[in-house]
C-alpha cells in the first residue's frame, strides 16, 4: 500500500465522519423532530438496543439475497456464455433481454406473490431477476472481445470452440465478470429488500415497513444503516476476491465494465 492509498483511505473515512457530524449538527441546530429526521447518534443507539431483535431479520435478508444472487449468477453466466459465443444468439436474444431488464422490478413483485405467496420465495426471485442482467451483459461482452489472431492460432491447431472458450474466452471474461458481480450483489440486495417491503413478514425490509407504520423513525433509519453496512460489506468481499482472481487485468489497464 502506497502513501497515496493511505491518504485516499483517510479522506474516505474523514468524509463519512464529516457526513454524520454535519447531519447531527443540522438536526440539533434546526431542532428537527425525530419523527422527521432522527439524529444519527439516536439511530446508532436504537441500532445497538434493537440489535437482538434485528439479527434474525438481517439473516433472513442476507439469506434471500445470497440465494437470489447465486441463482442469478448461474443464470447470467449460462445466458451470457450462449450469447457471447454465438453471434446469432446475441442478435436474437438481446432485444428480449433488454426489454425484460427495463421492467421495474417493483411491478414484478406482486406477480411473484400471486404465484408463490408472500415470504422468502418472491424475495429470492426478485433478487435473481434484478441481478442477472449485468452479468449476462458482461460475460457476453468479455467473450465477444477475444483477439481474432489468437483465435486463429488456436483454430489452426485444431482447437474446438469449447477449447477456445475454456482456455481463452472464460479467463478473459473474469475481469468483466467480477466487475458485474459487484454491481449484481448490490442489485440483489435491492431486489430482496424491495420484495420484503411489499410482501413478507420477515427481513429488514419488513422491519422498516412495520417501524414506519408505528412512527418509530429511528428504527427505520437503523434499518437503512444495516442495509448500507451489509451492502458495503458484500461489495468489499467481492472486490477482494476480484483482486485475487483477476489482478492481472488491473496491472496494466483498468478494465471497468458495469
Amino acid at each position: 500500500m502506497t502513501a497515496r492509498d493511505i491518504r485516499q483511505k483517510a479522506w474516505s473515512a474523514a468524509l463519512i465522519v464529516l457526513f454524520f457530524v454535519a447531519w447531527e449538527l443540522f438536526c440539533v441546530m434546526t431542532g428537527m423532530s425525530d419523527l422527521v429526521l432522527p439524529r444519527p447518534s439516536e439511530v446508532f443507539v436504537t441500532l445497538y438496543q434493537k440489535f437482538p431483535l434485528l439479527w434474525p431479520h438481517i439473516l433472513q435478508t442476507l439469506a434471500t439475497t445470497m440465494i437470489g444472487f447465486v441463482l442469478g449468477v448461474g443464470l447470467g453466466v449460462v445466458l451470457g456464455a450462449v450469447i457471447g459465443v454465438s453471434k446469432t444468439a446475441y442478435d436474437t436474444a438481446y432485444p428480449l433481454l433488454v426489454g425484460f431488464s427495463s421492467i421495474p422490478k417493483v411491478a414484478v413483485v406482486p406477480i411473484f406473490v400471486l404465484w408463490f405467496g408472500s415470504g422468502s420465495v418472491p424475495a429470492v426471485l426478485t433478487a435473481l431477476s434484478i441481478c442477472f442482467f449485468p452479468i449476462v451483459v458482461n460475460i457476453a461482452t468479455g467473450l465477444a472481445t477475444t483477439e481474432p489472431e489468437l483465435e486463429d492460432v488456436l483454430k489452426a491447431l485444431g482447437a474446438s470452440k469449447l477449447d477456445i472458450l475454456w482456455n481463452v474466452g472464460l479467463p478473459r471474461t473474469m475481469p468483466f465478470f467480477f466487475a458485474s458481480l459487484k454491481v449484481a450483489i448490490s442489485y440483489a440486495f435491492v431486489g430482496a429488500v424491495l420484495s420484503e417491503t411489499v410482501a413478507s413478514n420477515r427481513g429488514i425490509g419488513n422491519v422498516m415497513m412495520t417501524a414506519s407504520s408505528n412512527f418509530n423513525v429511528p428504527l427505520v433509519f437503523a434499518g437503512l444503516f444495516v442495509l448500507a453496512g451489509l451492502g458495503v460489506a458484500l461489495y468489499v468481499i467481492f472486490s477482494l476476491i476480484e483482486g485475487r482472481v483477476t489482478g492481472w487485468a488491473t496491472r496494466k489497464n483498468d478494465m471497468i465494465a458495469t
Binding site: 486463429d152 492460432v153 489452426a156 491447431l157 485444431g158 483477476t246
Partner: protein, 292 residues
C-alpha cells in the same frame, strides 16, 4: 473472374527447389483463388495461384499491401477454404479439420493471466498426443520443453514472468516459442516482426534462422520487409497487387547461417533491388502478365 491466362510455371523465374521431385511437397496450391463475400460485394483476394513448397523449405511471400499474402497463409493453415482450385497441405486436401500448424502474427497475443511458460505450453493443451498427457506432464517434461525453447531464443529464466513484464521483442520471441512447442511440421508467420524496431528485428531474424535450422520445419513467412525476406528465406515469391498472384519466384542461395553484415554485401543489395523493382511494377500494373 478470369483476368489473366492461367499459369502453372512462372515465366522467367529460375526453377525453384520445389521442382525437384526428391523432397516431398509440404504445401501445394493448384489454381487456388479466394473471393470474400458474394455477388456485387465480392472482393477477390487471390487470383488463381499455383504454388508448391517442398518439405523443409523457408519461403517468403512479399508484395504490396493487400495483395493476398495473408490469404495464402490462411489457406495453408486451413482457416480459409479456396473458392476455386485445390489446396493440399501435408498430402491432404485442406478440409474443415485444421492442420495443427504453428502460427505467429505481428500481435504476440500472450494471455495476460498466464506466465510466459504456461502461455507457451498452450498448444500442448490442445494438440494430441500432448493433450491427453498435459495434466501429467505439464509440471515436468512439458515445462522443460518450454524452457528449452525459451533458452534457444535468449529468454532463459523468463518463463515464470508475466507478459506485461516483457518488452515487445521478448514477447515476439515467446510467440515464436509458442508456435513451435508442439513440433509442427509447418510454421506460418504473418509479419511476425512488423511492430519491432530495426535492431530488435535483425536480432530476431538470426533467432528465427537458428530455430529453422534446428527444427527443420517448413516455413512460410509473409513480410513487407525485403531485407527480412532475403535474409531468412531459401526462396522468395513476389506477389502482384490485389487480387494477388505470384509474379516472381526465385531461390535465395546465400550460404547459411547468414549474418546481418551479409545484408550489406553487393549480392544481397542487388537481390533487394531486384525484388523492389518487382513490387514497384506490381503496384503500378496490378493486372499485367508475369514480369521479366
Amino acid at each position: 473472374m478470369m483476368r489473366m491466362q492461367p499459369h502453372s510455371e512462372f515465366s522467367g523465374a529460375p526453377v525453384s527447389a520445389s521442382a525437384a521431385p526428391a523432397a516431398p511437397i509440404a504445401i501445394e496450391l493448384s489454381d487456388a483463388s479466394v473471393t470474400f463475400g458474394r455477388g456485387e460485394r465480392a472482393v477477390p483476394a487471390l487470383s488463381k495461384t499455383t504454388l508448391r513448397i517442398a518439405d523443409g523449405e523457408f519461403v517468403a511471400l512479399v508484395g504490396p499491401s493487400g495483395c493476398g499474402k495473408s490469404t495464402i497463409l490462411r489457406l495453408a493453415s486451413g482457416l480459409v477454404q479456396p473458392t476455386t482450385g485445390v489446396v493440399i497441405v501435408g498430402g491432404r486436401e485442406v478440409a474443415a479439420r485444421a492442420l495443427r500448424v504453428g502460427m505467429a502474427f505481428q500481435n504476440p497475443t500472450m494471455l495476460p493471466w498466464m506466465t510466459i511458460e504456461r502461455n507457451i505450453m498452450l498448444p500442448l493443451k490442445i494438440v494430441e498426443p500432448f493433450r491427453s498427457q498435459f495434466r501429467k506432464l505439464r509440471k515436468t517434461e512439458f515445462r522443460d520443453k518450454a524452457n528449452a525453447l525459451l533458452e534457444q531464443v535468449g529468454l532463459k529464466g523468463f518463463g515464470s514472468r508475466y507478459p506485461w513484464q516483457l518488452s515487445g521483442g521478448m514477447l515476439q520471441r515467446a510467440n515464436l516459442c509458442r508456435a513451435l512447442i508442439h513440433e509442427p511440421r509447418m510454421l506460418l508467420l504473418d509479419e511476425p516482426f512488423g511492430a519491432l524496431d530495426q535492431f530488435t528485428r535483425e536480432e530476431l531474424w538470426s533467432i528465427l534462422q537458428d530455430l529453422w535450422m534446428t527444427h527443420k520445419a517448413t516455413v512460410l513467412l509473409v513480410t513487407h520487409d525485403l531485407r527480412e525476406a532475403a535474409f531468412l528465406a531459401s526462396r522468395i515469391c513476389v506477389m502482384s497487387a490485389r487480387p494477388g498472384r505470384i509474379v516472381d519466384d526465385s531461390p535465395v542461395t546465400f550460404s547459411r547461417p547468414r549474418t546481418v553484415a551479409m545484408t550489406f554485401e553487393p549480392d544481397f543489395v542487388a537481390l533487394n533491388q531486384k525484388l523492389r523493382t518487382f513490387i514497384v511494377d506490381a503496384r503500378s500494373a496490378p493486372a499485367e502478365g508475369a514480369a521479366s
